[in-house]
């Protein structure tokens, strides 16, 4: 993970694209939940099942590995991103594989797999439409479900038409057809398919992969070797648990009752079957996850990567996904990025939230993101990660807030400074930092809350 946290209000077209798309997805999500009889009970059950799985994860891992091997799959374990890359490159080398078709997988982004396979001489093609555009643009995804949410149709058209050397068109249908034709050729040539995993069923050794476009199915069906990447937290105990999670996943992501393709994979091609991969390799990644499991942020591992918290978040909507400087943006990314990539590197992230609670309200597995962000803020103070200016400012705020007399004086001062005009338009970066630069302080109300309150009490004869 690289990049730099840079919270700025996004520029015009980007702001508009992200705002429109997230608002749309957010209202679709809400509408799709209204048809459920008792959505809250279902979310609670999903949270309980994931929490239970995490608390018994060693057992479920053993069971999953046994069943998957019995079904003819190969299992590999990777402590680190480096080890995971090495394993996949090794599989490709041993089998003499040349062309890799990739389905969208946040875990593969996390470990930088594409670059490793390319360095080993392979042709690697992202086959999800959005990821394909990201790849030909040498860009980065800005959303975990909709990678090009930050691009306008015109930008997509320019990249795609230039890459494919075809006349310019901005028709979404035509653009999709162009990509389809190009990627069909890739699917026909690919001998390695790399996918992520949405859920892994311990009891049967089954992988569940959910996609809408069908590229995921191509990737797990056509190439002779299929490599599936999963974090240790993807497990659920039983098949029946999928009924719970599938009812929540697509609704939370896109407002659909179910993704177009829900693929259940239990082992490679069976005897007598006419297609399907000859080899199935599952790579189980730790990379800091056991540390999260053993610490104060265990519940973040319940996350099913639906993206609902991104769409619901007023901060994400304003700054866009790249501002987070990490593979995992948005509210859940504000927790997961520091946990996986180090708090020292991502110490601004837990602070970049208004703690409004929209993420918790949207989360299908009820991760209490606001509570955990506050906990992590305390951690940044304990580890002395705040800038000197912020520390000074906070000390000043504390001194004022803790003493009624200072508070009253500060209030009078501010009212005097801001009163009469239109407040303070455009705060300077030197005072408030990049996150708040350019924002406005409004004109104070005619009478302060304290003044009104005093009068109310006097009215009731209590003073």
């Amino acid at each position: 993970m690289s990049g730099r946290v840079a919270f700025r209000v996004a520029d015009g077209p980007l702001y508009e694209a992200v705002r429109r798309a997230t608002l749309h997805k957010n209202s679709d999500r809400q509408a799709s939940f209204t048809v459920l009889k008792d959505a809250d009970a279902l979310r609670r059950l999903a949270a309980q099942i994931k929490q239970h799985t995490l608390e018994n994860l060693d057992r479920y891992l053993s069971q999953f590995v046994d069943r998957l091997e019995a079904a003819g799959g190969h299992v590999h374990f990777a402590d680190t991103a480096e080890r995971a890359r090495e394993i996949v490159v090794g599989i490709a080398g041993q089998n003499g594989l040349r062309v890799c078709a990739k389905a969208k997988s946040m875990t593969s982004e996390e470990i930088g797999l594409t670059e490793a396979l390319q360095a080993a001489g392979m042709e690697v093609v992202e086959t999800d439409l959005g990821e394909f555009i990201v790849q030909i643009d040498r860009d980065r995804p800005s959303h975990i479900v909709t990678p090009i949410i930050h691009k306008t149709r015109r930008q997509v058209a320019e990249s795609l038409c230039r890459f494919l050397r075809v006349p310019h068109t901005e028709d979404a249908g035509e653009l999709t057809q162009l990509a389809r034709v190009h990627l069909r050729d890739v699917f026909r040539r690919a001998d390695l398919g790399v996918s992520g995993v949405n859920f892994a069923v311990a009891h049967t050794g089954t992988l569940c992969v959910c996609t809408n476009e069908g590229n995921g199915r191509m990737v797990v069906t056509r190439p002779k070797v299929h490599v599936a990447l999963m974090g240790i937290e993807k497990l659920v105990p039983r098949m029946i648990d999928l009924a719970v999670f599938l009812k929540l996943l697509a609704r939370s992501s896109t407002g659909q009752p179910l993704t177009v393709y829900t693929t259940l994979i239990t082992g490679p091609r069976q005897a007598g079957e006419l297609d399907g991969p000859e080899q199935l390799h599952v790579i189980i990644l730790d990379r800091g996850r056991t540390e999260i499991l053993g610490g104060d942020y265990r519940e973040t591992l319940r996350c099913i990567r639906c993206g609902a918290c991104l769409n619901a978040c007023p901060v994400y909507r304003t700054v866009g996904g790249h501002a987070y400087g990490s593979v995992y943006p948005g509210p859940i990314g504000q927790l997961v990025s520091p946990l996986l990539g180090g708090l020292a590197h991502y110490h601004e992230l837990p602070h970049a939230s208004s703690l409004c609670g929209a993420c918790l309200e949207a989360c299908p597995v009820q991760i209490d993101i606001p509570k955990l962000l506050v906990r992590m803020r305390a951690e940044t103070v304990r580890q002395n990660l705040l800038s000197r200016r912020k520390r000074l400012l906070m000390r000043l705020v504390l001194a004022v807030l803790a003493r009624p007399r200072f508070y009253r004086a500060a209030q009078r001062l501010l009212r005097w400074l801001l009163g009469g005009g239109a407040g303070w338009r455009g705060l300077p970066e030197s005072l408030v930092g990049s996150g708040f630069a350019g924002r406005h302080l409004p004109t104070p109300a005619d009478r302060s809350f304290r003044a009104i309150w005093r009068e109310e009490l006097a009215h009731e004869g209590r003073v």
Binding site: N212, V244, T266, E273
Partner: protein, 219 residues
């Protein structure tokens, strides 16, 4: 690899603190009352067709005796020149003679050229889910996983008796099956045509999978 797994499991065991009392070791029951949305005694055929249409598929009720006519009419309407038929069914043999030159059983001899050149695939679904309007296709001996994926149009034959009310029923069936029978190596639950909304949220069908889907619910 064994050692790597043991190390990981030990780490996980410590982190999870899983010296739990026995009660904590059984997963929470998946309460039917919470999960089920469609009652067991619901009118499934109508609901399935409605939900499938909402998902963008064209679902129709077809009496058993009229199935071949229905398929013939579809092929005529689409002017389909290359039609692939699920090798797990006898449909290829039963269609009228005039289709003989246009239809191909997608058996072991099918080559990739034809697979990618086909206009239409006809598959038989092993189950349907009324709640979501989904058809279920299974892999296994003699079957081809990609038949319901590669041709740009898909027609599925689903017997009404194979309909289940809810995803709960589908997975409860797989759950029960896992003790006696093994779960098939590949199951696809297909809900409507392939689609994307990656470009400015505009819905486009037919990305990598079929852009048009018909379902004949045979009664």
């Amino acid at each position: 690899m064994k050692a790597e797994f043991e190390a990981l499991r030990e780490r996980v065991r410590r982190a999870a603190g899983s010296m739990l009392p026995a009660a904590g070791r059984t997963p929470p029951p998946v309460a039917e009352a919470i999960v089920r949305q469609v009652p067991r005694d619901a009118e499934l055929v109508d609901l399935f067709c409605r939900q499938a249409r909402l998902a963008g598929a064209d679902a129709q009720v077809v009496p058993r005796g009229a199935l071949l006519d229905w398929l013939s009419a579809l092929m005529d309407r689409l002017e389909a020149g290359k039609v692939l038929i699920d090798p797990a069914t006898s449909m290829a043999a039963e269609l009228p003679d005039r289709f003989a030159s246009r239809t191909h059983a997608a058996g072991p001899e099918l080559d990739d050229e034809l697979m990618f050149a086909a206009d239409l695939a006809i598959v038989s679904a092993v189950a349907g889910v009324a709640e979501t309007g989904s058809i279920v296709c299974s892999g296994g001996a003699g079957r081809r996983r990609s038949l319901s994926l590669i041709p740009p149009r898909l027609a599925a034959v689903l017997h009404a008796s194979r309909l289940v009310p809810d995803l709960f029923d589908l997975f409860a069936g797989l759950e029960a099956g896992e003790r006696g029978i093994t779960v098939p190596g590949n199951i696809n639950i297909i809900t409507g045509p392939s689609h994307t909304a990656d470009i400015e949220g505009v819905l486009v069908t037919g990305v990598h999978g079929p852009g048009q889907v018909w379902v004949a619910v045979v009664t």
